[in-house]
């Protein structure tokens, strides 16, 4: 029981970090970046290559992975999404799906579909024993990392000038522009931060589940979006809460109901949440302008 709870929180922490990326991009660019999950996968491969082929030390691998993903995020935004700034959400979403498939298939060509054994990069502190349950090093690091990231992001959006600009853009793009905020730059930075976080999520995810494939990111990506919706899209604590709840739900469903049906249960939860409270647990109600 405690075991499942802990592994649920650990998995949920990874979802939370990914969900933060979704939530920020959704809040500011008002788009569902479907390719976010695949940026995680690229982050995983970047760290894997730096470590396995180049033999770099772990911190450098993680930094390298974050750098690659940040650049990738900015490039994706500039090439694929920026031309569609005023297009319908249907057009943007289809493009994002295209980007997602593009990344997966490029990865397939480069690294093939054979799973790569990912070296654990998150085991540099000792495990903790709680009675007959052991909390692994990776689990502890994952949870700590997600908490630090959440606090950091909350401070960033609340206190810094850039963070305030982001909030302004998310409220009203036009007004923000009139106040002298560079909307395009703000959106780019949001993508950069979200993608950098995706790299961390990638490393943590692959450290806990060490098989790396081109499709590694897609399922966690979709589930993390579910988590973001569950917590209330646009809300940083909401993403965290949604992620952890979803992780626990998934682990408990696997343990007590059916491994095969656990995904179905997670998605059913999404549908129920959207039915009962479409704005999510911590989301704000949005009134449509007429």
């Amino acid at each position: 029981m405690l075991n499942y709870l802990i592994s649920g929180i650990s998995l949920g922490s990874v979802y939370a970090i990914i969900a933060l990326g979704y939530t920020m991009v959704y809040g500011i660019a008002k788009m569902l970046n479907f390719a976010h999950g695949d940026v995680i996968m690229v982050g995983g491969y970047a760290a894997f290559c730096a470590s396995t082929y180049l033999g770099w030390p772990i911190p450098l691998c993680i930094l390298f992975s974050m750098m690659i993903c940040t650049i990738l995020g900015i490039v994706i935004e500039k090439l694929a999404y920026k031309p569609l700034r005023n297009a319908t959400s249907l057009a943007v979403l289809i493009t994002a799906i295209g980007v997602s498939y593009f990344l997966q298939n490029i990865a397939l060509l480069i690294w093939t579909s054979n799973p790569k054994a990912f070296p654990n990069m998150a085991n540099f502190i000792p495990a903790i024993s709680l009675g007959d349950t052991t909390i692994s090093s990776t689990t502890i690091i994952t949870i700590i990392a997600s908490v630090i990231i959440m606090i950091g992001l909350t401070l960033f959006t609340g206190k810094t000038k850039m963070g305030k600009a982001m909030r302004a853009v998310s409220e009203d793009k036009g007004a923000a522009q009139l106040m002298g905020i560079n909307v395009n730059a703000t959106i780019s930075i949001t993508f950069a931060i979200g993608s950098g976080l995706a790299a961390i999520a990638g490393v943590l995810l692959c450290s806990a589940y060490p098989t790396l494939m081109p499709t590694t990111g897609s399922m966690p990506g979709i589930k993390a979006f579910t988590a973001a919706v569950l917590g209330g899209i646009g809300s940083i604590p909401g993403a965290m809460l949604g992620g952890i709840l979803l992780g626990i739900l998934e682990k408990f469903a696997q343990a007590y109901i059916s491994t095969q049906l656990s995904d179905a249960i997670v998605f059913a939860a999404l549908i129920v949440v959207l039915l009962v409270k479409p704005t999510g647990l911590l989301g704000k109600k949005i009134t449509e302008k007429v």
């Binding site: 959704y26 788009m31 569902l32 694929a80 031309p83 569609l84 005023n86 297009a87 319908t88 959400s89 249907l90 057009a91 943007v92 979403l93 289809i94 493009t95 799906i97 295209g98 980007v99 997602s100 498939y101 593009f102 997966q104 298939n105 490029i106 397939l108 060509l109 897609s218 979709i222 979006f225 579910t226 919706v229 059916s258 095969q260 049906l261 995904d263 179905a264 998605f267 059913a268 999404l270 549908i271 959207l274 039915l275 479409p278 449509e288 007429v290």
Partner: protein, 359 residues
């Protein structure tokens, strides 16, 4: 300044557009029949004929949702699989009960498959259609995954007492001796009593075209398109938004179910994994490449993109990569404001249409 509009003249124009689609399908059938007669049809290509029909129907079905209703469904393969497995079970049960002729089995399988998929469409539509845009898309995706997961656990068999179901394993179906297993969880439907044929596929396409085109050119179709163009204005004009979105969604789901039954009854084995997210995306590629809202485009794109990979097997690895690039480029080319303005200028040069609108 303009011309007086003549009622009959106008409807003739609309039906003419529809007739073109019927023409394309009939010409396609004639061409394939002649090619086959002349021995010009390779085995590989012949094996693709029924899947082509099924994918054309899928593309038409998805285009009804994406193009006419303006919503993105990412779970259309889910409806296809409901139709496929229903069709397999129905056709299998009929065969078990001594109906050996293909035509009645196929017809009943398609009809029941379509009905069950439409029911699934209603069940999904109730929660989903209250949502807007991206949320709707992601929930249809979730739904597709749920169906796949559930079918992966589904066991169905038939004996003299009738159909037996189980969600755990074969033994739990409690079948009497002499019964036949029709669906075997993740292994899917095995020993399917094949019943599909190319001509059946062609007829089904024609029926689907008839239904969709007549739906679109009616007060119902106009209401659906009005909601797509401006939901609030549609509401203010007295249109019941949920009802008409539901009509489009459920019709589309039913058609996808029919396509699924046609598709499944062409193979002796069919697994749930066949109808995953990738299949939904594949159909979306047909719709996007053929032109969102353009039924003729969907037909051509579905046919060409199903045949091409067969002809260029050596490029198999690049297939999905190319599709991904196609999705991105087509969306940017058709939605970027600068490029759109450029198109407008082009078409203004080449046609005088709309030039007489200025007062």
């Amino acid at each position: 300044m303009g011309k007086k509009v003549n009622f009959l003249g106008k409807t003739n124009k609309n039906s003419l557009k529809g007739l073109i689609n019927f023409g394309i399908i009939i010409v396609f059938y004639a061409f394939i029949t002649i090619l086959k007669g002349a021995g010009g049809l390779t085995n590989a290509l012949e094996g693709q004929l029924i899947p082509i029909c099924a994918y054309i129907i899928m593309a038409l079905s998805l285009n009804l949702v994406v193009g006419i209703s303006g919503e993105l469904s990412l779970g259309h393969a889910g409806f296809m699989s409901v139709g496929a497995f229903t069709g397999v079970i129905v056709a299998g049960a009929m065969k078990y009960n001594g109906v050996n002729a293909n035509a009645p089995r196929l017809i009943v399988a398609i009809v029941v498959g379509a009905i069950l998929a439409a029911i699934a469409g209603i069940l999904i539509g109730i929660p989903v259609l209250r949502l807007r845009g991206d949320y709707l898309a992601i929930v249809t995706l979730a739904f597709g995954e749920i169906i796949k997961n559930v079918l992966n656990c589904l066991y169905v068999g038939i004996d003299n007492a009738g159909l037996h179901f189980s969600v755990t394993d074969e033994a739990h179906m409690d079948m009497a001796a002499g019964g036949t297993t029709l669906v075997r969880g993740p292994m899917g439907a095995v020993g399917v009593a094949k019943a599909s044929s190319f001509i059946a596929g062609i007829i089904l396409i024609l029926i689907v075209l008839f239904v969709i085109q007549n739906l679109v050119n009616s007060r119902t179709g106009r209401a659906i398109m009005a909601i797509r163009d401006n939901r609030i204005a549609a509401e203010a004009s007295g249109i019941n938004v949920t009802k008409y979105k539901m009509i489009a969604f459920v019709t589309s789901a039913g058609i996808a179910g029919a396509a699924g039954a046609l598709y499944a009854l062409n193979y002796s084995t069919i697994v749930p994994k066949k109808f995953d997210f990738n299949t939904s995306i594949l159909v979306l590629v047909f719709v996007v490449l053929g032109g969102i809202g353009n039924m003729t485009g969907s037909i051509i794109a579905a046919a060409v993109l199903t045949v091409l990979p067969e002809l260029f097997r050596q490029f198999q690895d690049y297939r999905m990569l190319v599709y991904a690039i196609v999705l991105i480029l087509v969306m940017i080319a058709t939605n970027n404001e600068k490029i759109k303005a450029l198109w407008k200028r082009f078409s203004a040069i080449f046609s005088k249409k709309g030039g007489n609108v200025n007062e």
